[in-house]
Structures are given as C-alpha cells and as structure tokens.
C-alpha cells in the first residue's frame, strides 16, 4: 500500500470518528431538549401538590370564598364552572357537529361557500381567547343585554371552542368509510337517514373525544370570562343562568394575585381541583376512544 492511500485511510477514519462523535452529541442534545419539557412538567406538578395538598379538604370543596385563607373554599367557583361548562356543551356541541356534518356530507366542496366556511374556521381557531371575551362583552353582555351572567359566559366559551369541535368532528366524519354510506343508500335510505343512522354513530367516538378535549380547554379559560365580567369572588351560589358567576380559573387567578402568601397555597389547592377535573375529562376521552371506536378492516 502506498503511503498516500494509508494517509487517506487514516484521514477518513479520523473524519468518521468525528462525525460519529457529532452525532452522539446531537443525540444527547435533542434528548435533553425533550426531557426538559418532561422535567418542567414534573416540577410544576410537584410544586402545586406540595403547596396545595395541605389546604385540600372536604370543607375547602364545600365552603364559600373568604377573606381568611384558612376558611376560603371553592364551592361557588366549582358550581359556577359546572353551570358554564354544562351550558357550553349544550350550545357548542349541536352547532359544532351540525357544521361538521354540513361541511363533510352536504356542502359542495368546490363551492365558494364551502371555501369561505373552511377558511373562516381556520382563522377563528387562531384568534386569541381574550378577543372572544371582547366579542362576548359587546354582543352578549351589552347588545343582547344578558349582563355579566352565566349565560353570557357560556355563549362566549361556546364560540371559543366551536372551531375545535368542528375540526375534530370533521376529521371523525371523514374517517367513516364510503362503503358504509353506499350500503345504506343501496338499501334505499335517504341522505338524512344515512347521515344520522350510519355515519354519525360510526363517527361518534371520534367526535366525543374531540369535544371533550375542547370542553377541557373551555374549563381552563380565564381571560374571556374576565372580559365579560366574571368575578373572582362571589359569595352565593347561582340558581339561574342569569346570575353572576365565578369559575375555577377565575377563582384561582383571584387567589394567586393576592399579596398574602397563604393565599398562594389556597390557589394551589384550587389548581389541584381544576387539574383533577381536567384529568378526569381526558381519561374519559381516552376511554371512549379505546372502548367504542369501531374497527373496519
């Protein structure tokens, strides 16, 4: 072997070694990037549990808010959230699913109206939550005269999560095999019968999974509710949709922004309640997806 080719071989070997080292280093780097997010999550949860668990008790869940941290409870916020989310489901779900059915099953996909609808929904999905609050303040609170009520809050949050429900429902309906529709038509079913008795039942688990995720988003939103006048401190339970309200994220914000450090712990206890509810909702979504999704192979 000539000395040149020996040298070349050495250079290549050295070069290869360096390239492998760079690769190993990069592997470590991207792994570290991924783990940073995970570690952040662990610290966040640990901090909240550590701060709040001591303040969590039955009386915390069943008491009204108070000026004194040790007596403060989350009942009005919890009941307010249940009211608002319940109404939001009743308002947003039918509109969202109907829109998705229209887009996927009825609309002419080459028509301008279809194009307008889809572009508009994509744009709405990018509008900041607080802007929906301005819409709610102007239209529901003022023009329709609903005031700072539960109903205003529910309408506002419904519009906020509508794009999410529409997109998720559209995806679920799209995933329904065309052969099912054809079979239904072949049996003499009308379009409406096919959509409501064949397509929808098949798409329902997917729609519900998306809807639950949208509802969890609504449950954690504070900014739009603040804009329409939701309160961080309400001393009585609402008994109609026209009553003023608090909600879990509003109450947590109110406690967080108080100067006394004890209220930080009360806030952490409130966060545990909120996160537990969100976790339950998500677990239900996963359960529905695994248990009820049909498989057509």
């Amino acid at each position: 072997m000539s000395p040149q080719s020996e040298l070349l071989k050495q250079t290549i070997a050295k070069h290869l070694k360096r390239r492998k080292r760079v690769n190993a280093f990069f592997h470590g780097l991207v792994f570290a990037a991924t783990m940073t997010g995970v570690i952040f999550l662990v610290i966040l949860l640990a901090k909240i549990l550590n701060d709040g668990i001591g303040f969590l008790s039955w009386s915390f869940l069943t008491s009204f808010p108070s000026r004194f941290p040790s007596k403060a409870g989350i009942l009005t916020a919890l009941v307010g959230s249940v009211w608002i989310i319940g109404l939001t489901i009743l308002i947003a779900l039918p509109i969202g699913i109907a829109t998705a059915i229209y887009l996927e099953e009825y609309a002419n996909k080459k028509a301008k109206f279809y194009h307008l609808l889809t572009v508009n929904i994509a744009n709405l999905a990018g509008v900041p939550a607080i802007v929906y609050g301005m819409l709610g303040l102007m239209v529901f609170v003022r023009i329709l005269g609903l005031g700072n009520s539960i109903l205003s809050g529910a309408f506002t949050l419904s519009l906020l999560i509508l794009p999410v429900i529409i997109v998720a429902s559209s995806e679920a309906i799209k995933a329904v095999p065309g052969s099912l529709r054809e079979a239904s038509f072949a049996l003499g079913a009308s379009k409406g019968q096919t959509v409501f008795r064949v397509v929808l039942p098949y798409a329902l688990p997917g729609i519900l999974t998306g809807a639950i995720l949208a509802i969890s988003r609504a449950m954690g939103e504070a900014a739009p509710l603040i804009m329409i006048g939701g309160a961080g401190y309400v001393g009585f339970l609402p008994d109609s949709p026209m009553d003023i309200f608090s909600a879990l994220p509003l109450q947590i914000y109110n406690w967080t922004s108080r100067p006394q450090t004890e209220f930080q712990h009360v806030a952490a206890a409130g966060i545990i309640v909120l996160l537990t509810l969100l976790l339950t909702l998500n677990a239900i979504a996963v359960f529905i997806r695994n248990r009820y999704s049909y498989r057509m192979d």
Binding site: V22, K47, I95, V131, Q264
Partner: protein, 297 residues
C-alpha cells in the same frame, strides 16, 4: 301529499338547518370584527391615531392621559421573543428526537407527556411562574423584580413548546422515508440525515409552526397578567416589570370602568390591534405552508 314528497321536503329542511348552523362561525367572525372596530372607531375620534402609533407613553387612566401604545407593543414583543427563544430550539429538538432518534416505545411514552403541557390551563402556568420561576430567577439575579418579563416568557415558552414540537414532528413525518434511506445509503449519520435532509425537506411546516407558536404567545393572557406586571413602560430589560397588550386588557376589565368612557374604548382599540397582529401572523403561517408545499409522490 304522498310519502315521497314528504321525505323530499324533510331532506331539504334538514340540509337548510345544517347550513344555517354552519353560518354561526361566519357570524362569529362578523361579531368579532364589529365588536372590536366599532368601539375602536369611537376611540380614534377622541385620540389621534398618530398619537396612538407614534408616541411612547401609555397612561390611559392616570392624568395626564397619554395614549402611545408602544410600551404595550414592546412588552408583548419581549414576551413573544423570549418565549420563542425557549420554545423554538426545545420544540424543534424534541421534534427531531421524537421523529428521528427515539425508538417507537420511547416515543409512545414521551409524546403524550409533552402533550399534557399543552393541556394545562394558562392560569396554572401563571401561578407557577410567579411562585417558582420568579423566586428562582431572583436567587440567581437579585436585581430581578417580583413581576418581570423573563419569568412570564419562560412559562409562555413551555406552554407553546408542545405546539412547536407536534407541528414540526408532523412535518418531519411527512418527509418520505426513501429520502432518509437514500442519505443513509450514502453513509450519512443520523445527525446528517436529520439536519441536512429531513429538516430542510420539512422546513415550510416547521417555519409555519414557529409563526403560529409566536402568534399564540402574543395572544397569551393569564400568564402575563399574573407574572409580568402591570407596568407599561418602554423597556427592553426582561428583568423589569412590564405590561403587554393582553395584560392591559385584563387589568382594565378587572377594574370598575364605566361603559362609554375613554378607558373602556381603549381596551377595544388595544384588542383590535392584538386581533390584527395575530391575524396577520396566522395568514403568514398558512402562506408559508401553501407556497412551499412540495409533493414527494
């Protein structure tokens, strides 16, 4: 009327009802634009649009009143850039790790964990920023103020990280395997395949993810309302207390502001500016994907 006709009418009625539901999303957009711009129009009859966009003192409620919006815009920009500084490298790193390096099993575990970060309400991040990140920063750099832009930026950055990671990963997954295999056949390392083949091929999707994430940071409200302060001064120091556009809106909404007063209209003017900025960013994000859509069939 015979059976056939009834059925036909029912079908037509059904389609009309569904189409009517679909228009709710269009009315939402009209409602947003009307709500924001009608009050903004009134606002600019009292305050000169030149003063709004060219002066640098923001004091809408304290005499002497001044309406230079720049302190809020710079505050928002600092949060957006600061959070991008965290979310973009970490999100892209996570995406590369999950799509190129991780085994299937690792990916199945890590991906849902990162997605949990996206599901945590922003008020919770705000709490964490104020009670954990800020004290940490203050122990590292004692001159840090209790409310500061850096702490809020970090929390916003982690919140938008999953968006960057999952959108970038989707873009990388869309790169056909044959391109990777071609590069490996030439003797490339994983690092070279990732950075010289996969990332460039997925660049439009990744760029779009970056812009969308920044737009999300601009509209983020509760974290900055809790942790960044209420101090609308023109500064570029991230350790200072600042105020963002969204932070200002929440702050005014929490106070007792008379309807029709100039402060009330200010919120709509700032909201309109926020809406326009995020709208433009969302358009850019979509344009990037559309323009560079390459098909590898």
């Amino acid at each position: 009327m015979d059976q056939k006709k009834i059925r036909l009418y029912r079908e037509v009625a059904l389609k009309s009802v569904l189409a009517a539901m679909a228009t709710v999303s269009i009315f939402t957009t009209i409602g947003i634009i009307f709500s924001l711009f009608s009050e903004t129009f009134v606002f600019f009859q009292h305050v000169s649009i030149v003063e709004f966009f060219t002066t640098t003192i923001w004091s809408p409620s304290l005499k002497p009143q001044a309406f230079g919006v720049w302190p809020l815009v710079i505050g928002t920009t600092m949060i957006a850039l600061g959070s991008a500084l965290i979310a973009i490298p970490m999100g892209l790193g996570s995406a590369i790790y999950l799509s190129e390096y991780a085994t299937k099993k690792t990916r199945r575990i890590l991906k849902p964990i990162l997605e949990v970060l996206a599901g945590i309400p922003s008020v919770v991040y705000g709490f964490f920023a104020l009670t954990f990140i800020t004290p940490l920063l203050r122990s590292l750099i004692p001159s840090t103020m209790i409310f500061n832009a850096a702490s809020a930026s970090i929390a916003v950055g982690v919140m938008i990280l999953p968006l960057v990671a999952s959108m970038s990963e989707d873009a990388m997954n869309a790169v056909p395997d044959s391109m990777r295999q071609g590069a490996y056949a030439l003797g490339s390392t994983k690092f070279e395949v990732s950075t010289k083949v996969v990332v460039p091929a997925a660049l439009s999707g990744i760029g779009s993810a970056f812009v969308l994430a920044i737009s999300r940071a601009v509209g983020e409200t509760m974290i900055v309302a809790i942790a960044a302060g209420q101090n609308p001064i023109l500064t570029f120091n991230p350790l200072q207390s600042i105020q963002t556009m969204t932070g200002f809106m929440v702050n005014v909404a929490l106070g007792d502001i008379e309807q029709g007063s100039i402060e009330y209209q200010t919120v709509f003017a700032v909201g309109a500016l926020l809406f326009v900025l995020t709208f433009i960013m969302n358009l850019i994000a979509r344009a990037i994907v559309k323009k560079n859509k390459e098909t590898y069939a």
